[in-house]
């Protein structure tokens, strides 16, 4: 298998997952398209380093994660590579469920470290062992972070609920 074939296979297999990963963590379709294109550009340049099997996806999540952390808008030619993709994404932007706005608010107010592990566990459906591979920590640390994140979100939701009740009673 040549590098080109391997890249095409990796791209076709994991495009939906990376697209979704990027879309969940960016606020505009332009940003989503840029994260997708930057991630796969990195994959293309490092195609020889991409692990085999399902490890590949975790490796790709790790790349996408670093791309997100370093994202600089409009500063790259990737924006042009993804031209048509951006137009498509702008057309198909999904809407957030309105009735869960309070959960979203509580989630958004969590520290970034908490949000990251919770999102990987719930949105990407990763176990703490796999989360550890994506974020580059030990499985034990990932498990601990996940546990703490769940507790903090639960506490935030409880605070919200008691605040609402207090306001209703007032």
């Amino acid at each position: 298998m040549t590098h080109q074939d391997r890249f095409e296979a990796v791209y076709d297999a994991y495009y939906p997952a990376i697209h979704q990963y990027a879309a969940r963590r960016t606020s505009s379709p332009d940003d989503t398209a840029d994260v997708i294109s930057e991630t796969f550009l990195t994959v293309w340049r490092r195609i020889g380093d991409v692990p085999r099997g399902e490890e590949a996806l975790l490796w790709l999540y790790g790349v996408a994660r670093r791309v997100l952390a370093n994202q600089q808008r409009g500063a790259s030619r990737r924006a042009v590579l993804a031209e048509r993709l951006r137009a498509e994404l702008a057309a198909d932007r999904p809407v957030r469920p309105v009735d869960l706005e309070h959960v979203r608010t509580a989630f958004d107010e969590l520290p970034e470290r908490d949000r990251e592990v919770l999102a990987l566990a719930c949105w990407e459906g990763l176990t703490s062992e796999r989360i550890a591979k994506v974020v580059g920590c030990t499985a034990f640390a990932a498990r601990t972070r996940l546990h703490r994140a769940r507790k903090r979100l639960a506490a935030a939701l409880e605070r919200q609920a008691s605040l609402t009740i207090a306001m209703e009673e007032a």
Partner: protein, 348 residues
């Protein structure tokens, strides 16, 4: 899974796995047209990577539609020397005149067919062959800015029928570890009206339909505007390199007025790097003239448009001068203004 996890899952803003569309496929081609490795790591790996794709370094704007040629498919028909006595410039100017006379209508309609060889090979027990897959993609833009999209995966086609029969004539092939199959039957068609007004991109410039309609109808003014649009992307250098591609998108991809399309042809006629290479046929067997321009200055790969000079329509877009790869081609089935209402794509 805890209740908290269920709540977090419920606020996931993207509940459905996206189906890669034409944009995703173009991105893949564009990425593969860039240098495979940055120079600093390339040195270390050179022995293993020597002779690999890095032919088209950092292709930038024009990289869209970069494809390669299937091993079993015929190579893209080489443009034969012009049988017409018209010079390249006059062919483009003749097309410009036709473009200006093209009809207006209630909807801009773009219908494209993408075809290309999938990585593979497929088969078992020593029998191997490649698959060609194709899909239809349609876009409509109404004068008020409403847009519709249609998509349909068409039947996959084994490129070596004899080998496919020896493989037991399978009708489906697994795509990869994430599931999904290529099938010898066409997929369902998807068709929807976009909820929000669609933003259109001209090179790196987001534009409204009104702004596209208001583009200058003179070639020099249009070139100036094109350079401004390309300049929005800081990475493209020099910006002039993106000019042929930006002008070409006005010929078939964007809802430009007949006057602007005419001006785009005239502007292309002024560029020395744009060559009219003579008569050829597109993958549908339609006759046209090949117009090419470099993907990047100083590189052998060229983007090729096949245009019908009698109607000014772009028939197909592909790339030539690349190492043999998967023969991707973008066939333009419809591109222009129409009064026919948007409807779901039918299988060819």
């Amino acid at each position: 899974m805890s209740d908290i996890d269920n709540l977090v899952r419920a606020i996931d803003p993207t509940p459905h796995a996206p189906d890669p569309g034409p944009g995703a496929r173009e991105l893949r081609a564009a990425i593969m047209a860039t240098e495979a490795r940055p120079r600093r790591t390339a040195r270390r790996r050179l022995p293993r990577r020597a002779g690999a794709v890095g032919l088209v370094a950092a292709a930038g704007v024009a990289a869209v539609f970069l494809g390669q040629v299937a091993p079993t498919a015929t190579p893209p028909p080489a443009a034969t020397p012009g049988v017409t006595s018209l010079s390249g410039t006059s062919i483009l100017l003749a097309a410009a005149a036709k473009a200006e006379a093209a009809p207006e209508g209630a909807y801009w309609h773009l219908k494209e067919l993408y075809a290309g060889r999938r990585p593979g090979p497929y088969g078992k027990n020593g029998v191997t062959y490649y698959l060609e897959t194709s899909s239809l993609s349609e876009t409509w833009v109404a004068k008020d800015g409403r847009t519709w999209r249609g998509h349909r995966q068409l039947a996959a086609r084994p490129l070596d029928l004899e080998a496919w029969r020896r493989d037991g004539s399978p009708s489906e092939w697994s795509i990869g570890p994430d599931g999904g199959v290529y099938s010898t039957s066409p997929g369902e068609s998807t068709f929807f009206q976009n909820k929000r007004k669609h933003r259109l991109y001209w090179s790196a410039m987001p534009m409204t339909l009104k702004e596209i309609a208001a583009l200058p109808a003179g070639p020099e003014a249009l070139k100036k505007r094109a350079l401004e649009a390309i300049r929005r992307d800081n990475g493209v250098d020099p910006v002039e390199e993106g000019l042929p591609r930006a002008l070409a998108t006005l010929l078939y991809e964007l809802p430009a007025s007949p006057q602007v399309r005419g001006a785009a042809y005239q502007a292309l006629a002024t560029l020395p790097e744009v060559q009219v290479e003579g008569r050829t046929t597109d993958p549908q067997g339609r006759s046209g003239v090949a117009v090419t321009f470099p993907v990047q200055q100083g590189q052998p790969a060229r983007t090729r448009l096949i245009i019908d000079p009698d109607t000014s329509k772009v028939l197909a877009v592909d790339s030539i001068g690349l190492p043999d790869r998967d023969g991707s081609v973008n066939v333009v089935l419809e591109s222009g203004w129409t009064d026919t209402k948007p409807s779901p794509p039918s299988a060819e």
